[in-house]
Amino acid sequence: MHFRTAIQSLAMPLALGVIAIYFAVKEPAFLGPRNLTQLIVEFSITGTLALGMFMILLTGQIDLSVGSGVGLIGGIAAVLVFQQGWPAPAAMGGAFVAALVLWTLMGALIVRQRIPSFIITLGGLLIFKGLFWLVIQNSTIPVSRGDAENLYSRLTTYYLPARAGFALAAVIVVVLAVLAWRSRQARAAHNLPDSSSSRAAARWIATAAAIAGLVAMFNQFRGVPLSLLVLAGTAVAVYFLTQHTPFGRYLYAIGGNEEAAVLSGIAVNRVLIGAYALMGVTVALTGFMTTAYSGAATTTVGDLMELDAIAACVIGGTALKGGRGSVGGVIFGALIMTALLNGMTLLAVAPESKFIARGVVLTLAVWMDVVFGRAKN
């Protein structure tokens, strides 16, 4: 157990380091602020989707439809903005509701009819793709009218001004301090042991320094990207859900042993539908960001993103059979996945090779998951 966690917690930074060094040597611009900012936007997109996928995988289910869904939801919002002339927030709200409804229905279909999620979501992949092309009429629908900027188009192009970035960092650091302090108070009230206060302070200072450094780095180019804040918000929400609510416990329990979960009095169906509804939420967020990032809804938006999301989760230590995984791991996995794709694009690697590399990484990640899963039993 300790050995395994040690390997995994070391393996990911190590892999990321190797990737970064390799690309940096081949193309120094890889680590330049311009590319790093771009990488962070792409990372936000993959990471947000992976966080939704994470909760699905935790229960031992899977969702193959999210790539098409990303295109469809982004496309609906684009059509509402560009063709119907809706204000961007309203259009995104409408598309968001559509995602929520679609994924709730899909979840309900999976649990009530006991159809394997693999099949239902494979059907979803095709259906959503078709609906997407129908909605955008196989054309290219920009996310804004003319050169006008709106919330939608700014999703991946807005950067916090330098001062706002630092102010936000300061707020986050203060909030972290308050949370840590309250947690210590609660543990003390129950006479539970805790790490020494100097260690806690040191950890807090280290976190604060890291956040400040990150903001400073972004400010070298254009500032903290808005999309990173979307990812951070999603990550915090998913972390809270999985670690601090009964719902999260139930996700782990269902994935670990569904029969035991039922007999433990868990409303398994409700929890699973909830997981799919949340997947819908992250699909909507990712859909908006992806479409905004490519500037318009075109037929290829979202292609194969479900596989990137799954790969990110599995690279990050999420078990495909469910019951194991962490938010931190998923974030790391998404970063590795994005760094690979971004670096290859930067090196102008041919698309065919990119496909193969993606496949190799996915296969490798799943293979490692199987090996680690076996080692446990």
């Binding site: 157990m1 609660a186 543990r187 009230a189 129950h190 006479n191 539970l192 809270f240 601090h244 609510t245 009964p246 416990r249 782990y252 329990a253 670990g256 042993n257 029969e259 035991a260 979960a261 039922v262 007999l263 433990s264 009095g265 868990i266 409303a267 019951g323 194991r324 446990k376």
Partner: protein, 565 residues
């Protein structure tokens, strides 16, 4: 291992009646077999002998060691995992696995429904040994002509493709032999449960092994089907096949067996010639055990106070009351549990006994909301109707079940002890949408310590615990829900004596707190030692109800065994 076994040490208690059997060495002989599992000695110095052309019955209570013995004989427990010797045809053998045993012409187990549901009856009968054929006739002729040889050299039963016609023809013959009216092409999942069992038996018999092992072959058969089966066994016996026959149904055993070996607590008690034995004698030898202080039932609800209590406590005060309950496995099927009625009072331990498949687990699973479709009958829990519940409803209403199969139904093995302990009780720790993790940890620690779970801490993985400690976690999870009624399904199965005592103490503590307990157990001494009342189930019905001290093991066994026909 003893290198100088005493000659002829096998059936020490046997009144050897060799009758029509050959006088050569026994086909199969086990000498001083001892098999230990962690914490449990499953077999102790067991002697067993099987002669050609003999049907030899193995009798014993659940857990007496019958299955373990069979697994040794058939190589599932390989040589080296046990002490003692196995002899085939008088020569010592060391099976490294099932294949060795099969190569020795040896035992073939009919396990419970080892059929492939999606394949046809014929395919199942010939699984792994389908009749083959080579090239079709015209191709053979053509190749022969090309080679200039005389004619087609066709070898039946061999070749590189399945001979479907032959397979179906032979399957049809076997099915007709057994009077089984199913098509060889029918998928196994579509045939009845009794028919499945017969298909399995046909498969085992057709493999033409020298030793046929039938483990509870008639559990799902009707009277006429049993008669057909026994008739075929007699025919095989006449052909020289030896058979080890395991059944709880003593009337069958006496109808078919030549000799009977009784196992009890892992020891071979006696080998009797069937024609000299009687049903009461066999039952006595199956039981033959003194109740010691192993079962420390102490309770305000002894039989003496029970009389007083019954007067003082009107039946309306029963915590759990079941009336004329009929439960089917699924809507539209025949009820399996029939006309079950009982009351359970606070502070009382109600024991449920019965043979495998008598419906004990089904009953508690149904009351918990995890099995079956209620055809009719009423269940009242703490004064409220408890109709068509889910486990979630049951837990919220104060009825909880600690399941029999801990690893499958009880625990999330990959997660920590604490995770499992609080899994059913997270509602207690909710503060708004959030879990109060420190409060949860404190509560987990309380249960972890009071149950004396032996582990480095509540953060240890549940899957790494021993059986007894896993059981404690399952019990802890159930108890943390603060139930009024606790149902324990085989709470001491597979755990060592020390852990058993702790479970019994826990039951006492529960009843002291006024909780009602349902105890399901296969071990009669445990039932008698720990229950205030005992209900024996038989084929889904109540076979008898006894109060503490009233029943002897013989009476209980009779209630469980008495032939339903």
């Amino acid at each position: 291992m003893n290198k100088n076994p005493t000659p002829g040490s096998a059936p020490q208690h046997s009144s050897l009646d060799i009758g029509h059997w050959s006088l050569g060495p026994p086909l199969l002989e086990a000498r001083r077999l001892t098999k230990r599992f962690p914490g449990v000695t499953a077999l102790r110095d067991v002697a067993f002998e099987l002669r050609a052309g003999e049907i030899h019955a193995l009798c014993g209570e659940n857990g007496a060691g019958k299955s373990t013995l069979i697994k040794l004989l058939s190589g599932i427990h390989p040589h080296g995992s046990y002490e003692g010797e196995l002899h085939v045809d008088g020569h010592p053998v060391r099976f490294a696995g099932v294949r060795d045993a099969e190569a020795a012409g040896n035992a073939d187990i009919t396990q419970e429904f080892a059929l492939v549901e999606e394949l046809s009856v014929a395919e199942n009968i010939f699984l792994g040994r389908a009749p083959r054929r080579g090239l079709p006739a015209f191709a053979l002729r053509a190749t022969a002509r090309l080679r200039g040889t005389d004619g087609p050299s066709r070898r039946p039963g061999e070749g590189w493709r399945v001979d479907w016609l032959e397979m179906h023809r032979r399957a049809a013959g076997l099915l007709a032999d057994f009077g089984l009216a199913v098509s060889p092409a029918a998928p196994v999942r579509k045939i009845g449960i009794g028919q499945k069992q017969l298909v399995e038996i046909i498969r085992a018999m057709d493999k033409k092994t020298r030793v046929l092992v039938l483990d509870e072959p008639t559990a799902a058969l009707t009277g006429p089907e049993v008669a057909v089966l026994l008739e075929h066994l007699r025919r095989l016996r006449a052909q020289g096949t030896a058979c080890i026959y395991i059944s709880h149904k003593l009337d069958e055993v006496f109808a078919i067996a030549d000799r009977i070996t009784v196992l009890r607590d892992g020891a071979s008690i006696a080998t009797l010639a069937a024609r000299e034995a009687t049903v009461p004698l066999v039952i006595k030898q199956m039981v033959g055990r003194e109740l010691g202080d192993l079962f420390p039932r102490r309770s305000g609800f002894t039989p003496d106070t029970a009389d007083v209590g019954d007067k003082a406590r009107p039946s309306a005060e029963a915590v759990l009351s079941v009336r004329h309950l009929h439960v089917a496995p699924a809507p539209g099927t025949e009820p399996f549990l029939r006309d079950i009625s009982f009351d359970l009072g606070a502070g009382e331990v109600l024991g449920f006994g019965g043979l495998m498949g008598a419906g004990r687990t089904e009953l508690v699973m149904h009351l918990f909301g995890a099995w079956g479709h209620r055809v009719r009958g009423d269940v009242t829990l703490q004064g409220q109707a408890h109709a068509a519940p889910t486990p979630r409803d049951s837990i919220r209403r104060g009825l909880v079940l600690a399941t029999e199969d801990r690893r499958r139904y009880g625990l999330v093995l990959e997660q920590s002890i604490g995770f499992n302990l609080s899994l059913s009780s997270l509602r207690q720790f909710r503060r708004g949408v959030k879990l109060d993790l420190p409060a949860e940890q404190v509560r987990n620690q309380h249960f972890f310590e009071s149950l004396q779970v032996k582990a480095p801490g509540q953060h240890a993985r549940a899957g790494g615990l021993s059986g007894g400690n896993q059981q404690k976690v399952v019990l802890g999870k159930a108890l943390m829900t603060e139930p009024a009624v606790v149902m324990l399904d085989e709470p001491t199965r597979g755990i060592d004596v020390g852990a058993k005592l702790e479970v019994y103490e826990l039951i006492n503590r529960l009843t002291d707190e006024g909780k009602a307990v349902i105890l399901v157990s296969s071990e009669l001494p445990e039932l008698m030692g720990m229950s205030d009342r005992i209900i024996m189930l038989r084929g889904g019905q109540i076979g008898g109800e006894f109060t503490r001290g009233e029943a002897t093991q013989e009476q209980l066994l009779h209630a469980a065994l008495a032939s339903a026909a």
